[in-house]
């Protein structure tokens, strides 16, 4: 699993400086989003700015309903923002007047998973290249089998998603994304509602993929332990309207494994994140109750 081959990271190698030009730099400047459901304005994002380096594993944490997913959807091109600009590799992706077009350079891994239940694992993984007409069916099949094998998913390519475990489903979804060699991987709380054991596996698998490909990963989560363990930087968001409250550099060495969880630095970082997030979470909780009353 740890051997780096060209298929899983077609543009780079495991050492970042060797790759000609790291891609996937995200610049978010003063992004603001106002929703208008039922004729009532809701300010979801308020002047939110952040710079994500190319090849960074960026993790966003914050209470529920704070606008994390709004940000992700704007980058993915599922809806627009009211004002501000988002750049990908210094090219304007979306702004107050322009909605981004969804495309294979920014692939989303969804909260509840979005493998097509009516296709087999193989058909799911080859979906991207085939609809884009980038590869022949046989070439796509060959490459998909390789990627699946590297991710430890041999022998399930003809199963339907409903026949494999939820952990496997998530890994297939990542394989489907990597098949398109995206610039940015957008992950919207992908491991929510998984039990502790399954999460452990998922983290290890994702770190492997990241270490080999050094893709930019934009990862949203509620789970603080997960945030520090995975991320290069952790961005703490405030409760609605969302803006970046604090940026924490996670200076833990890579490749990471579970020994890091007992290091002093990890505990320090965890302390720091717990303090800043817990405060916001309480605010959000109380605001939610007031709203319902």
């Amino acid at each position: 699993m740890t051997t780096s081959t060209s298929t899983i990271c077609p543009t780079g190698t495991s050492e970042m400086h060797l790759s000609p030009q790291p891609v996937g730099k995200l610049s978010i400047r003063n992004a603001t989003k106002i929703y208008d459901p039922d004729g009532v304005n809701v300010l979801a994002l308020d002047n939110c700015s952040m710079e994500v380096e190319a090849g960074e594993f960026c993790v966003i944490v914050g209470p529920s309903g704070c606008g994390k997913t709004t940000l992700l959807n704007a980058i993915a091109g599922f809806h627009d923002i009211t004002s501000g600009d988002i750049f990908l590799d210094d090219e304007l992706l979306c702004s107050g007047t322009k909605q981004a077009e969804p495309g294979a350079d920014r692939i989303v891994v969804f909260q509840h998973g979005a493998l097509f239940p009516w296709y087999t694992v193989l058909e799911n993984v080859t979906f991207g290249p085939l609809v884009q007409g980038k590869m022949s069916a046989s070439a796509a099949k060959k490459e998909a089998e390789e990627i699946l094998a590297q991710m430890g998913l041999k022998g399930i390519s003809h199963s339907y998603p409903s026949e494999i475990s939820s952990g496997m489903r998530r890994r297939v979804e990542i394989a489907r994304a990597m098949m398109n060699n995206p610039k940015v991987l957008l992950m919207d709380e992908p491991y929510r509602a998984m039990d502790a054991l399954t999460k452990t596996i998922m983290h290890k698998n994702l770190l492997d993929v990241y270490d080999q490909s050094r893709k930019t990963i934009f990862f949203i989560t509620h789970d603080l332990e997960e945030a520090i363990f995975l991320g290069t930087r952790v961005y703490v968001m405030t409760t609605r309207p969302g803006t970046i409250k604090k940026v924490i550099d996670v200076d833990l060495p890579r490749p990471r494994d579970y020994k890091i969880l007992s290091s002093d630095r990890y505990l320090e970082l965890k302390q720091e994140v717990i303090e800043s997030v817990h405060e916001e979470a309480k605010k959000a909780f109380e605001a939610g109750e007031r709203e319902m009353a």
Partner: protein, 293 residues
């Protein structure tokens, strides 16, 4: 959320019970379809302690709680409360179910008062007074006439806690009560629940598959074996009370976590050798590599 006040209402202090589970076995089906779910399981719920049961998903935790609550009878073995064997469901042992089992057709107040009213122990007015007293303590007094569907996930769980508490049970049994809540709300509910417990010192049984939650809450941690389930190890958690979230970033906590993980890993190994479960295989693969590094 003024959980720091005493919650026993105006009916005097609550008295916890002691529950003894001795050599309990349970199987389902007959002939080739027979599945031994619980085998020779023994442990004690000590008076006034919070015991947490943890085990791999699908190991038979829910069956165990059905036996303890009296919804099902064990094939062999005895279950006693304060020395007396249990006969069927009773109000001395109350279960708070996974997700929520509030009656959707009753308002918050009707749900809470349901138990005392059907038993006809007190007048309706008295019961309602007591219910309002409890609801006020958990910050739900403004929601007395709302239906469960109108409450947020966290509120529903609090309403369930009150519905159980008003019956002054000797033993509270929580079957993964916070499952399905998002991580932030879940943490707040954990903190909230642990406060309630620290106020009352009822005998509590808490079932979960989240290790972090288990250690944070428990006085005693019972680790179950994989199918057929039995109590494998009991770890006494001697973290200070009242428990605070900062605890999760301490060495002691980490020590307990690793101790428990090791045992869970062993259990996963056993389960794997008996040919059970894709999730377990996944877990092993991830965890074994970590160890060999």
């Amino acid at each position: 959320m003024s959980a720091h006040e005493h919650i026993s209402g105006n009916g005097g202090p609550l008295q916890g019970g002691e529950m003894q589970i001795t050599a309990v076995s349970k199987s389902f089906g007959i002939g080739p379809l027979r599945q031994q779910v619980i085998e020779n399981c023994s442990f004690t719920l000590e008076r006034g302690k919070l015991t947490v049961l943890i085990g791999p998903s699908g190991c038979g935790k829910t069956t165990l709680i059905n036996l303890l609550a009296g919804y099902e009878a064990p094939d062999s073995g005895t279950i006693t409360v304060d020395g007396a064997p249990i006969k069927g469901p009773g109000k001395d042992r109350l279960v708070v179910f996974q997700e929520t089992a509030l009656f959707p057709w009753m308002t918050t107040l009707e749900n809470v008062t349901y138990g005392p009213i059907v038993r006809g122990e007190k007048s309706k007015k008295e019961v309602e007074e007591e219910a309002m007293h409890l609801l006020r303590k958990v910050g739900l007094e403004d929601f007395r006439d709302k239906f469960p569907i109108q409450l947020s996930g966290g509120m529903q769980r609090r309403c369930e806690l009150v519905r159980a508490l008003i019956n002054r049970p000797k033993i509270m049994m929580m079957d993964e009560p916070f499952r399905g809540l998002d991580a932030m709300t879940r943490e707040l509910m954990q903190e909230y629940y642990v406060r309630l417990f620290e106020e009352n010192h009822l005998t509590n049984l808490f079932i979960t598959s989240e290790l972090e939650e288990a250690i944070f809450l428990a006085d005693r941690l019972v680790i179950l074996t994989n199918r057929p389930a039995s109590a494998r190890t009991v770890i006494e958690i001697e973290l200070p009370r009242p428990r605070e979230f900062k605890l999760l970033a301490t060495r002691e906590y980490l020590h307990y976590k690793q101790q428990a993980l090791e045992i869970l890993h062993e259990e996963a190994l056993k389960a794997f050798s008996s040919g059970c479960g894709a999730t377990v295989a996944d877990f092993l693969e991830a965890y074994s590599e970590v160890e060999s590094k």
